[in-house]
Structure formats: C-alpha cells, structure tokens
Symmetry: C3
Subunit: 139 residues, 3 copies
C-alpha cells in the first residue's frame, strides 16, 4: 500500500453485535498494518470496564436470537470480544481511547478499566487523530 | 494543522444518545476550526423541528436508563441538545442540512424547522460536500 | 470533480430504515459517478438473500410507525429497497460484497443470495477497497 494508512473508529454502541464489528475491523486492520484508533464513548464505554466486553448482549430487536447466535459463534470457534480486543492490540497497531466525559457521567473510574486502554481523553484529542485518518467510522 | 479540514456527518438517528454524539462531535470540531456539515435525514429530521431536539429520548434497549442519565447530565451541567447545537453554530464552522425527501415523506414543512437550519436539500447536494471531507460519519 | 472519487460503506444493519439509507446513498453516489463499494455484514447480510430486502422492517423503537411510513413511501412513489439496489447497480458504479464470516455463522449459502452480489469475501478484502475511499461509512 505504499504510505502508512490509518483508521479512526468511534465506538458509541454497547451491544455485542456492534462491538464485534468494531473489534473485527480493528483486528483485521491491525493485521494489515493499518494504524487504528478506537474511541469508546457513551454506551461503548462500559465495554472497557473489567469483564465489560463479555457482558455485552444483543439489542432489543434481535434479543431472541442472542443465545442461538452466541452458540453458533462458539461452534465456529470465533474468539470472544475480549480475545478479539487482545488480538487487535497484539498487532501493535491498535490504540484504545476511553471518553472522559462518559466516565464522569457514568461514574466510572480509571482503575475500573481494562489494562488495554491506552488513553483517557475527550473528543477533541480523538478528533485530532481522526482528522488525517484514511478510514473514519461511527459504530 | 496547516490546511483547512472538513467533516461531513449524516445524522440518521433520532434518539437522544445519537444526537448527543452528533452535536458533541460538531461543537468540538467547530471549536477546532474544522468545517463541519451535518445532514439530518430520516429519524434525524424531526430533531430539526422547533422543540424537536429536546423531545428526543433513549432507544428501547436502554429506555430504563433515560431518567437516570438525564439527571446525571444535568448534574454535570452538560448543555441540552439544543444548546449544544447553538454552541456548534456559534463557531461559524457548522452547517445544518435538512433532507428534503424525508420532509416530504413525513409531511414536515420548512417553516416548522428551527432557524439554525442552513439548507434544505437532497442527498446529492450533501454528497458533493462529503466527497472531499477528511472525516465522514454516519450516525 | 476532477479525479475519480470513491465511497466504501459497511452495511451492518438489517432494518428497513438503515438499508434505505445505504441504498439511497449508493444510488445517489452511483448517479454522481462515485465508485461505491458496499460490504453487507452481520444483520445486513440477510438483506442479500433472495426476497430479503423487501422483508426488512423497522427497529423496535419505531415499529409502531412501520405501516404508516411504508404507506407514505408508496404514496410518494418511492422505489422499494430491491428496486433501489437495482437502480444503484445500473449505474455501473456500485459493487456489492457479502461477508463470508457472517454467511458461515448464519448458515447462508452463496446460491441463496441475489444475483446482484459481486463478491463473497472477508473484512480484509473490503478494507483494502475502503483504505483509499473518499467517503467511509458504517451503517
């Protein structure tokens, strides 16, 4: 691909399907040497609490499919969300940001977060990273 | 940052949490001198009616958290959605577009919209703005 | 616009309103000679099954508005989702990708998909297209 490429993702959702998309994109991008920045905000923030990713469920619309899909994902030996996050981080290309406004709003403290979080910051810090990204997504 | 930067956001959602994200990004980007264009379409359009932004609620999944979160946001002295929109506009960098197809579909007339709307137009007009934006998001 | 422009859309949602946005953007972009790549994944994948697009409904939040809105859309002579997809393809600018991981997960076979699908592939193949796109969206 020649020059260095970059992706910036805002992870605003806390449901399992959306977090799965965020982390699949991140681990795939990481494996392709794309520098990837993910800003977890609002409903996405609790996913960064210890044990949070694996508590995420399906949205109301498709709640009745949750058990079925989770079984299929296990049967297909797909990694759990936290395993996906760790795979993404192992590439060395993926940086995790936790939104400080959301933390204040939800009363979540830094020591409650998983060690894979790189930075606690606000939207402005993240937009500075996103402004020269090749791929920008809001999930 | 050197050259002029630009963001284009499609605001398709009408729930409070998503509108909060759109307007936080917009007011932050505006404050960073990023030219920001927001196209309100489908469920996002009613938010541009007079009083519409402050009627927005939480999605079904998290409806039970609405009162709690709204109280926390007030306690943290966070601006209301309409205040956020006005802050964004005050930067002089943020332009608001209302989707004309949605207006026809929902039977909403131009005189029902808040004065902060800059342009009533279709998707093609907005895509012309988005095509050279540095950040593109669908919320 | 001078040089060739390109859009890349991840269609992760299966609800009618989101698919309508994806396909409106795609048919508009196609008509503007913007090369448009759409990756249907997770809840978006069943929309590519024969008859799938026209089975899509509204999300739980706004389910009560479904009949009303569908009637308004018909009255306004708006195309159905499948018609929109075909219009988008007729521009010659729009390429449809089906996510192979989702197909495996949901037990959907290639012969069940509509003929408008161009490629069955994984996230990496799609990210290679997205990395030099001018517009990137996650819907």
């Amino acid at each position: 691909m020649g020059e260095r490429k970059k992706a910036a993702i805002i992870a605003q959702s806390g449901t399992m399907d959306k977090l799965f998309s965020v982390l699949t994109i991140a681990s795939t991008a990481g494996a392709m040497d794309i520098e990837t920045h993910i800003f977890f905000t609002f409903w996405g923030l609790p996913a960064l609490k210890k044990g949070g990713l694996d508590q995420a469920g399906f949205p109301a619309d498709v709640k009745h499919l949750e058990d079925f899909m989770k079984q299929r994902m296990q049967k297909a030996k797909m990694p759990s969300l936290y395993e996906l996050l760790k795979m993404a981080k192992e590439s060395g290309e993926v940086k995790i940001y936790a939104c400080n406004t959301t933390m204040e709003l939800m009363g979540i403290k830094e020591e409650e977060l998983i060690p894979e979080v790189d930075t606690v910051c606000g939207a402005a810090t993240f937009l500075k990273e996103a402004i020269d990204a090749d791929i920008t997504l809001f999930v």
